[in-house]
Amino acid sequence: MSISDTPNQGWRAWLLTDTPSSRRHARLSALYRGWLSFSENPMTMIGLGILLVLIFVAALVPWLAPHDPFAQDLAARLQPPGSENYLLGSDGLGRDILSRLMYGSRITLYIVTLVTIIAPIAGLLVGTVAGYAGGWADVVLMRLTDIFLAFPRLVLALAFVAALGAGIENAVLAISLTAWPPYARIARAETLTIRNSDFIHAVRLQGAGPMRIIVKHIWPLCVSSLVVRVTLDMAGIILAAAGLGFLGLGAQPPSPEWGAMISEGRTYILDHWWVATMPGLAIFIVSLAFNLLGDGLRDVLDPKEGSN
């Protein structure tokens, strides 16, 4: 840190050095270079900005929201946007749409987070085991993956929720169930290329068992391609969750889930357009942000797949 007199130049030079002095130094340096090329793209930064705002709002919503999201005021129902007290208007029960949207961001983040934890981990497990074990295990696991891959996602999620009952947790399970196969494919492909490399042979010679090799040496190398895929998938997850909510199969009213809000506003669409329009815009903006971020991440982490 104290290499140079101007501290700003100092840590940049330290991070951009070609001769790292320690393992941590090299890792930080790689991270910083990644960040530099990542932050060059304005579209990506817009996406990141939107998501940071979303997280900020979701974290501090009790202090930020102007109204209680469940408080009904029938005297002030269906107020247009921009009216006093109701920046984005009020819905059919006189609830403030802005406050409901802000609380809804928590549900959206909750669903996205859970699915992006469950699905890639399930895929990683299946894919690495199939790739590393080979033989029958590989055939069986990959056939299973193909079957789930062959299934239309939304329809499978619908049937699943129908059997288990509506609700956020079941929606999460249903979406995860339809989302894991691509991760398994990616993880298997990565495992196959890593499995026979010299460093794995070296580790095995040192006496490491299959568990240790998979967990300690194969998983870390699968992560970057999985992360890219996850970010690109997040928009799809949001849209699927909103779709289930819209059909009344996800979060239940009066929960301010965005898809369910569109469904409530559908009744008023011809005379009071804002009730359904505002939550739709929210979904659109957030999934656009995830797509922008995913594009940028892909360019940094996975240059060979990048668009340019």
Partner: protein, 352 residues
Amino acid sequence: MAIASETGKGRHQPPFLLFLLKTGKTLVTIAVTMLGLLFVTFFIGRVMPVDPVLSIVGERATKEIYEAAYLSLGLDKPLIVQFFYYLRDILQGDFGTSLRTGFPVSGDIIRVFPATLELASLGTLIGIVIGVPLGVVAAVKRGTWIDQVARVIALIGYSMPIFWLGLIGLLVFYGILGWVGGPGRLDIYYEDIVPTVTGMILLDSALDGNWVIFRNAFTHIILPASLLGYYSLAYISRMTRSFMLEQLNAEYVITARVKGLSEREVIWKHVFSNIKVQLITVIALSYAGLLEGSVLTEIIFAWPGIGSYITTSLLSADMNAVMGGTVVVGLVFVCLNIFSDLLYRFFDPRAK
């Protein structure tokens, strides 16, 4: 299978035998996938609900009816036997009776499927007609404003909740401007006039020569089809662009230019011909995607297709109908996947 085909390759067996082996392998793959598909549906429909009998007979059924349903489902038998019963029924085209409509599910599906097919086909057509040229132009004029516009169009398509866009479309083009017909396939006074041949109203009315109804049906289908078309356009244009970019860097393009061919000939005759096969695969996939993606669109536009059928059945806990619909959509999906795979092998000399 794998061993047989590998030794076959080594010994230079006659091409006919190789072909048979490959076909056999493909057939086994298809069969296994279908079996898995049916098993998953079976699992979802019969095993996961807390009480599958209750979801069929309803909560107010008498004890006798409950017992009868219990036995007729074969629930007293082991799970694997139940699965075989289920398979046997489905192979005979028997998906059970729908609780909601009171008709056999298979008949219901035959009735509603053409509506979905009509919508998805028109959507895919729109996606191809706009998406392919857009992708080609974006690749050729890479980095210019056209490329940027194409990118933004695709990004918006990927990020848009399509059911919401449908609502807004209805509001603007039907509610405010009055340019298109409202929900449903026809205005109510035109319904049941043309005889049903294919079940697709555009085709049926054209066959009947009834152009008034054709026009009316067109005003109803154009909005939902455009929405689905936009969705597939986003995908098709992006894929076209990346396929084109891959080819444009190849050396034969330089050769063609050096030969003095016009830019138009280079792009459409040489480069585009080379991406056709990949493009067909992408289009088949997007077609399959639309068949399922139409679920939400059908709800918004009150379109009586298979998506509406599954969803309405679902909301009235009609598991037979849900399972039947899921199996059919799944089968169509698998078939389209296999079809595109076969096309790929057939047209791509390298895959032989």
